[in-house]
Every structure is written in C-alpha cells, then in structure tokens.
Amino acid sequence: MNDLAPLPATGCRDVPVLRERGQREVFCGLTGIIWLHRKMQDAFFLVVGSRTCAHLLQSAAGVMIFAEPRFGTAILEETDLAGMADAQDELDREVDRLLARRPDIKQLFLVGSCPSEVIKLDLAKAAERMTVRHAPQVRVINYSGSGIETTFTQGEDACLAAMVPVLPQTQARELLLVGALPDVVEQQAVGLLEAMGIGPIRVLPAPRKQDELGVGPNTVFALTQPFLGDTHAALERRGAKHIAAPFPFGEEGTTAWLRAIASEFGVASDLFDQVTAAPRARARKAVAQAAEFLTGKSVFFFPDSQLEIPLARFLTRECGMTAIEVGTPYLHRDLMAPDMDMMVQGPVFSEGQDVDLQLHRCHAARPDLTVCGLGLANPLEAAGLTTKWAIELVFTPVHFYEQAGDLAGLFSRPIRRRSLLKLDAAQPPAARAEARR
C-alpha cells in the first residue's frame, strides 16, 4: 500500500494516558443541537431543561439564528418540580401546542438536560406516549444532552444512537455513512465512493424523515466523525459491520478512510487510484501552502470535541507540527486506534480535565499554537499564546480532500495573523506592555 507516508514502528495505540478528574471547561451535549437542527430539516429539538439550557443554546451559537429556529427549551419552573405527573402533563401540552404551530415537523427530539435527569423526568416514556399520540405524522425520540452525561459532540452521538433502534430493518447490502456533515462535504464523499462503483450509499442522519434508511446484518458503515462511540455500538447491535479506518481529515486521512471502504467493497486498486489521484494532488498542494506556516511549530490541544486525536495526527504527519499534549474529553480506544497507530510517540495524551492544572502545563510548555474552547482563548492570547478556538473545527467544513487545505488554514491563520500585526511604534517606546494596558 503506497497510500501513506511511512508509519512509525510503534505508534501511540498503547501509550499510557493521563487521566484527570478535576474542573472541566467544556460544553455539554446540548450544543450539538446547533448543527443537528440545520442538518435534519424536518426535525425539532425540544430541550426539557432550565433557563441555563436556553441561555447556553443562545450563547453557544455565537450569533443568534433568528430564522425561526427548529429548537427551543421547555423551561422547568418551580411548579414542575413539585410533582412529576404535572411535569408530564405540562410537557404534553407544550408539545401539542408546538406541533399544532409547526405542522412541518416530522421528527421531534425530546432532549434531556441536567435538571431533567436529576429529577428523573422520564422522557423515554414521554417520547413513547407522544409517538403513539402523534403517529404517523410525527415520530418522537428521546436522548440526553445533559452536561452530567455528555460533553459537547457527544450530544450528536446520543442523538444518532437514539435514532438507530427505530430505523427499519433491511437485508440489503448498503454502505452507511454516519455523522452529520455539511451537505457539500457529504456530497463530495458520496461522489468519490460512487465513482468507485460503491453503492447504494445512505447517510445517517438523513436530511428528512422520509429519506430514511434501513439497517441490518448486511449493512456496512463508516464513521465520518470520531465522537460516535455509542452510535457505533448501537449499529453493531443491529448487526451492521463497522469499517475501521483513520478519520477522513487531511489528504492522508481521507485516502486511508476511502481505502478501507474500497477494500470492503473489493474496488480494484487502479480504479481507486484513478478516482482519487486528482483530488489527492489538489489536497496535498493546498495543505502544503498552509503548512508553510505550521512546519516546525508545536501544538497543544485542550479537550473539546474528541476531534483532537485525528487532528493531531493530521497536523503532525501532514503539516510538520509537533504535538505537546493532546487532550480529549473521552478516549475511545478502539475507534481511535487507526489514528493513534499513525502517530509517532511523544505527545502526552490526556483524557478528562483539570483545567487549572492543564493551563499550568500549557503555560509551562508555551506551545506555538493552542487549540482550546472559547472560554480560554482570549485569556491565553492575552498571556501571549496563539490560539485556535476548537468550536470552529466543528462548525466549518473540514473533512475530505477538498477541505484539507481549509483545515490546515484554520490552524495557520492565527499564526499568520500574529506575524502580520505590527502594533508597536516604529521607534521602540519605553514600555510596550504599558502601552497595551
């Protein structure tokens, strides 16, 4: 196989991991609604929670999406906490009202939150009851995006995993691509695979309920996102077979990912090369341009989206960077193994977080680039570190060949920016730090 640059003799698959259990500085799983509600166009996400949940959804989006959003929060009030029966009735009432106002809704997700989990409000039962009540127009599904159980992208995992059991059974041999991707990116992947004669190809989540796919023992699936551990397990329980592969970030990751699927479907290697040669060359060229600013630089990842390990693999192998620490909120060893195999030993892998200790390590290491959440970015910049906000990696099309250059660009831009800004006087003033104050 000539697809990859030489692999390290011993990769990082079995390296010990620094496990931390202190204060975490991460989003909860509700945040996934921000992109999921745009992906599934006939779905509505109803969070059953508190004012904090509503405030998070509003703030996490950074900007408010005022085109009538397909999500909302049923805010629990003092009276709802008094008796559970009341809360269920109240929920029925709010859902009836919502569905009457929005007849375009075909799938309703009841999303659990920290407060609803703590008071043990049974949303699974509510979803069953409502499915019966509103069938066949609307299907009601429940999952939890609570911060006591899920971190950031795990919300998408919980959502997709909840959809798997209700998918129809099929015996067809189909390829299922799993993970919510921007449409343009998804179409690129489907296009490449179809050009190799692979099909039929289905995508989970489907943009509409009616486009729905089946799953069964002849289904094979590939994950496009690294944070889909529960969905992976749910699909395997339905008999589907997972195609293990590195994740499709960068030219190398994309090639390895496509290669794994191509092997499963018995695609001849010259056909594979024929289909991938041109986009591979483009991706390499585009990555090389951004990598100019990244080569020889160090990077430090705070835990955020579970994309950290595949991205560290991309940055170290394709952009010439050195990883100092790769933090991830949760390390799924099996899913990460192909990526970790490709990485040279050296970086610290950390799982979980104790944010003050990690900040201390970061300040001590003084990396050239720190990938972190929005709450930490400006304070780190003010301390002289260059940062990349992690959430942009989730909100921007970064998968597959045509976006490989954009992905590298996301990391190179903060470094380029810092080198572009000339904020000091031409004649050195007395105290530069004072002038900034």
């Binding site: 408010m64 005022f66 909302g72 006591i148």
Partner: protein, 526 residues
C-alpha cells in the same frame, strides 16, 4: 413549563458571575455541572475579557450524584482558595445543583476558610439574571460593608456597574468626570473595579449614585437603611435626566448644581433644521426598565419622536414602566417572550425600534430600523471607542446612534420625488448604510411592506387590523389602493397603512380605495 426560543436574561447564577467578574480579589465557587462552564465565554468572547472569570465550577457528573457531590464541592472550594487567595469567597449553586440540595453555603461555612465566605441563594426556577446580580451584590455589601468615618470632602459611590453590562465601562468614566466637575470625589465604584476591601469602606461616602437599579438597588436600599447613605433615583441618561440627576445630587450633598455643558451637542443637533425630518417619527421602545424609561423621555422630549409603545423584559421594574407608559398614553408590554414583543411591534408598525439585540433582529425581519439601547449584550455593544450612554457625552452618543439607522432628511425627500427611479428607490435602503444596492424589480416590490408577509401582494388584502382597534373592523384593501400604497416610501408605508386602516375603521368602511388612502392622509396631515 414554558417554551422559550430566545431569552432576554440568563439564569441567576450568570448574574452572580457578572458581579464576581466585575470585581477583583473575589472568587466565586459555583456548584454546577460541566456544561455550565459555557458562561465563561460570555465574558471572554462578548466582552473580550483577557482573563477567565474568577469562577471555579465543581463540574459534577452523573456518576458523582448521590455519592460525593458534597465532597467535590468542598475540594473545589479549598483548592480555589489555595490557588487564587481571594479576599472573600462567594458560593452558590446553579439550577442543577439547586436540585441536589447540597447546601454549598452551609458546607463552605464549616470549612474554616480564613476569609469571609458569602453564601448566595439563587432560585433558578423562579428568578433570572438581573435578580442574581442584584442579590449577589446585596449579599456582598451586607456581609462586608460597615459604618465608617465619612470622607472630609463630598464623595459618592457609583453603584451597579457589572461585567457584561450595556456600556457600563464608559458610563463610569463619564460619570466620574461629571462628578469631578461638580467637586465630588468617587469613593468606591462597585461592583465594577472594587475588591472586598473597597466594599468595606462604602460607608465613607456621603451618598450613592445608583447607576443601574437592575443590579444595584437592593444594595443601595440596604446602605440607605444601615449606613445612612441616600441614593439617587434619577438615572442620568439623556439631557433632561442628566440635569435632574445633577440637581438631585447637589441637594443630597448641599452643594451648587453645576454641569459643564460645553461638550453637549444633542439639544442643538435636535433643534437644527436638518433634524426636522425626525418630527413625530413613531418609535417603539423595549429593553430593561432603566434604559426604556430613559429612552422614552429622550425620544419624546429631546428627539421629537412619538412613542407609540414601550415595555420591558424584567418584571422587577414592571411597576415603574407601567407608570411611564401611562404618562405616555400607551400600554406597557411587560414580557420576556420575544414572540410577544415581535407581535406587538408588528401590530404597531413603528417607524423605528429602540430595543435590544433581539429587537434588532425583529426589526431586520420586519424591515424596521432599530437602534440598540439596552442589554442583553452582543459583541457589538462593546465598541472599541468611548461610547457611554450617561451624562453629556452619553446624550451625544445617543443622538448619533438613534439617527444612524434612519434614512436622512434630504434623502427622504429625494426618495419621495424620484420614487420610480430604478436605482434610487426605497427598497435600496439608506445610502449611508453598507450593502449592495438592489435594482428595482417586481420581486422586491412584492416583498416590501413591512417585509413581514410574503405573498401579501395578492389583492385584495385584508387589513392588518389596528392592533388596539375595536375588533369589529375587518377592512379590505382594494388592489388599486394596495398598489398606490406601495408607491409610498418604505419608511412611512407602515404608518400610512395603519393610519388608513384606522381611518377606514373609524368611518365604518369595509373597503379601502385610493380615495380612502388620500382621505386618511388628509385626515392625519400634520
């Protein structure tokens, strides 16, 4: 249970964070799950703060429930003290931690920390952000402020400015200068910029300036009672209010009321002929009570607008706002449901909105210009330039800010004259705004109006009703009248439509013809 799409206020613990972040040498230990740490980004991103908020979250997880969440809190509290060495700690619970009833206040008190520990009660399922800020600052003041010797020269405290406040940073600068001109020193500014030691000497001032009742009133009332400090009731936003404020303060301190007005431009700018076009512009005012009350007065008395509706989202100021509304002869809208606000704006069809970022979006949807006067804040509400709302410069800033969204005087006339011009037409928007000019087309004509009703070009059209009308009046627009209405520039079309419908209803007409339109125009001519 209440379905919310967008909210004007966060939960009360975010209010507590606004106080903690505004202060120095104070640390907040918040019993909360990991997701609640999102609140940090409000401060570091929206306000571009260069430090993390001084908040330690316990970030308990599902597996901790029922076993050791209490220990988790104690550990977090101990470590936060050791790491940050604050002069005082405040402790509280977010919505989820409130449910598990660990009593952070009680636990922290038993830990024998060498600094004051101030417990907060933040009822998440009843109250909201402003309450949280007000309550937190009140508890801090109550715990730390003690009677002390007055400063020899007249001095005041500036009370109420917090992190994430609407122009609080610049209002402090402006008021400090204004007070200096009056010969009054600032004893303490709090919460913003104060540390717990400063709070202890609040009593050294001769009076309190309550800048923002939303976040400082409880503390001011307590200081009035316990420390004998009177506090100002006028919030100095606008020319008239600033003058009243100076008079009020002069009386408290028994000094002459002097205000340096050399930099004040609003009165002349409003009086100059260029501003004639502002006369009687119909405005709707919505935001927090303090800013709405001030804005309504400025709109009527200092800009010459007509206030057609007003309201606030914080119930704490409802009584005050109802009184203001009565004075203006309109109904007050007290709600935190943005859909209700949108509905009211749609019904009133004002020519301009003075609102929050939420109303800015409503205005965008309905094609009504909007100037922002109040929190909730957005990154745009923290401009790099000096941009206060209070005092002399505040009045100047307000004049500019409110005029900017409007189509300006002469341009308005030209749009009337050349309404059929293919480039210079009303759908192209005000010429001093960015954005690509859209050539006139059948499409853009149809999607006009207040922009609210796609397909509203199908004639005849049923009237939108007068909102406050009698209810019996369903008036139909004949196609020709509808076409004539579209010839009226967009920034007065809403008013013309509304006036015509009201006129028709008052006359008992079922249909609106071109004649009805012009009869109504003559009827309402001013």
């Amino acid at each position: 249970m209440k379905l919310a799409v967008w909210t004007y206020e966060g939960p009360p613990h975010v209010g507590a964070m606004r106080v903690a972040t505004a202060m120095t040498d104070l640390h907040f230990v918040l019993h909360a799950p990991q997701g609640d740490t999102y609140a940090d980004l409000l401060f570091t991103m929206i306000e571009r703060r260069d430090h993390r908020p001084p908040v330690t979250y316990t970030t308990f997880q599902a597996r901790d429930l029922g076993s050791d969440t209490a220990d988790l809190f104690k550990t977090a509290c101990r470590e936060a003290y050791d790491r940050f060495k604050p002069q005082a700690l405040i402790v509280g619970a977010s919505c989820t931690a409130e449910l598990i009833q660990d009593d952070p206040g009680g636990m922290a008190e038993t830990m024998d920390l060498p600094v004051p520990v101030i417990p907060l009660e933040l009822p998440s399922y009843q109250r909201k952000e402003n309450f949280g800020a007000d309550e937190t600052f009140f508890q801090i003041t109550r715990a730390l402020a003690r009677p002390c010797e007055k400063t020899p020269r007249p001095s005041v405290n500036l009370i109420g400015a917090t992190a994430l406040g609407f122009r609080h940073r610049d209002d402090i600068t402006e008021l400090t200068g204004l007070l200096l001109d009056m010969g009054i020193a600032v004893n303490v500014t709090a919460p913003m910029g104060a540390n717990p030691t400063d709070i202890a000497r609040l009593g050294a001032a001769h009076a309190n300036v309550l800048m923002y009742p939303e976040t400082g009133e409880s503390a001011c009332r307590w200081m009035e009672r316990e420390l004998g400090l009177p506090f100002t009731k006028t919030v100095p936003i606008g020319v008239g209010a600033t003058r009243d404020f100076v008079a009020e303060l002069a009386q408290f301190l028994n000094i002459p009321a002097q205000l340096d007005e050399t930099r004040l431009r609003l009165p002349w700018y409003s009086a100059s002929v260029d501003s004639t076009y502002l006369t009687g512009k119909r405005v709707f005012v919505f935001g927090d009570g303090t800013h709405v009350k001030a804005a309504a007065r400025i709109a009527r008395d200092e800009m010459g607008f007509e206030v057609v509706g007003l309201g606030c989202y914080n119930r704490e100021t409802a009584r005050d706002i109802r009184a203001t509304a009565k004075e203006f002869g309109v109904d007050a809208l007290i709600t935190d449901d943005y859909l209700e606000v949108e509905e009211r704006i749609e019904a009133l069809a004002p020519e301009m909105i003075l609102g929050t970022q939420m109303e800015r979006h409503i205005g965008k949807r309905l094609g009504i210009p909007c100037a922002v006067i109040s929190a909730p804040v957005h990154v745009q509400d923290f401009p790099a330039r000096y941009s206060p709302q209070m005092g002399i410069e505040g009045a100047n800033v307000i004049f500019d800010t409110w005029v900017h969204p409007l189509v300006m005087g002469l341009e308005e006339h030209l749009l009337h004259m050349f309404r059929d011009d293919f480039e210079f037409h009303d759908a192209a928007g005000a010429s001093h705004h960015g954005g690509k000019s859209v050539p006139r087309s059948a499409q853009s004509d149809a999607a006009d109006e207040t922009g609210s009703m796609p397909g509203a070009d199908a004639a005849p059209v049923t009237g939108t009703g007068t909102g406050t009308g009698t209810g019996s009046d369903v008036v139909t627009w004949l196609a020709c009248a509808e076409r004539e209405l579209k010839k009226i520039p967009f920034f007065v079309r809403g008013k013309a439509r509304r006036n015509t419908e009201k006129f028709a209803a008052d006359q008992g007409l079922q249909e609106i013809s071109v004649d009805t339109l012009y009869e109504a125009k003559a009827h309402y001519a001013r």
